[in-house]
């Protein structure tokens, strides 16, 4: 044990609140300032803080690089899935009104708009989080950390 007690304890106390604040920014994005990109960066900042305080090796144990890569691709996949789903339901690409069916016919269009924007923002959060963590690992390790 080295003597960085304040940093260790502070990081342990604050990390869950940083993650919670990221989710707050995420779900507040429907009504005011905030949204997927900012929330993803804040979510990644918790892991970057963990890596800075506890070392890169411990951070890789908590959040393996493979998971970060999968998150970076999976978020884009979720975004595209919502877009193509609304397209296959009869609307344009990313026209959420058609997400649960034909406009004003099978389902309330505002319901589709609400769920659609949540899905899109969730995809943005996952992608930004994964890419930010992967970038940090790449720069901190000075090499590609292969899973």
């Amino acid at each position: 044990m080295d003597d960085r007690v304040i940093l260790r304890v502070g990081t342990k106390i604050l990390s869950p609140f940083i993650l919670l604040f990221a989710l707050y920014v995420q779900f507040h994005g429907d009504f005011g300032p905030g949204g997927g990109f900012q929330a993803g960066v804040i979510f990644a900042a918790a892991f970057v803080l963990h890596a800075l305080v506890f070392g890169l090796g411990n951070a890789v144990k908590v959040m393996p690089p493979k998971v970060a890569y999968v998150c970076g691709a999976g978020g884009v996949a979720l975004y595209l899935a919502v877009g193509y789903l609304s397209m296959f339901r009869g609307g344009e690409f990313l026209n959420y009104s058609y997400l649960f069916g034909v406009y004003g016919y099978e389902h309330d269009p505002t319901h589709g708009q609400h769920i659609g924007i949540i899905g899109i923002e969730l995809g943005v959060l996952i992608t930004v989080f994964g890419v930010m963590v992967a970038l940090f690992y790449a720069f901190a390790g000075r090499r590609r950390i292969d899973p």
């Binding site: 960085r4 304040i6 940093l7 502070g10 106390i13 604050l14 609140f17």
Partner: protein, 116 residues
């Protein structure tokens, strides 16, 4: 009457917060080395932001008296922001000071020759 008291108290708090912010900024610009500047920056975070948030909380309580119904969210958010500043600012200052010591920055001392 009570809302006048709250208004005056909140503006005194906000002006005090701005004063500490100004003093901290002058300190960051004018003080001689890393550690003394850190002292000024830490004071900006705790005292300046603390007084500003206290003033905003008093404004919110005044809004309750005027019948605003969204006061609960604002008040809770202000308390949470103050708590997070209270936790994070000293930790960040501590980490910066440690990094300065580990990097070999000598603390500034008054020059001894002559009358300093």
């Amino acid at each position: 009457m009570i809302d006048l008291v709250l208004e005056v108290a909140s503006w005194i708090s906000i002006v005090a917060g701005l004063f500490f912010m100004l003093v901290g900024t002058i300190g960051v610009l004018r003080l001689p080395d890393v550690y003394t500047r850190l002292h000024a920056a830490g004071m900006t975070d705790t005292m300046g932001a603390g007084f500003l948030i206290l003033g905003m909380m008093l404004q919110t309580i005044e809004g309750i008296l005027h019948g605003q119904d969204t006061w609960w969210f604002v008040l809770v958010r202000l308390v949470l922001i103050y708590l997070f500043i209270l936790f994070t600012s000293p930790i960040a200052t501590h980490a910066l000071a440690r990094a300065g010591l580990a990097g070999g920055v000598e603390p500034w001392t008054a020059p001894t020759d002559g009358d300093a």
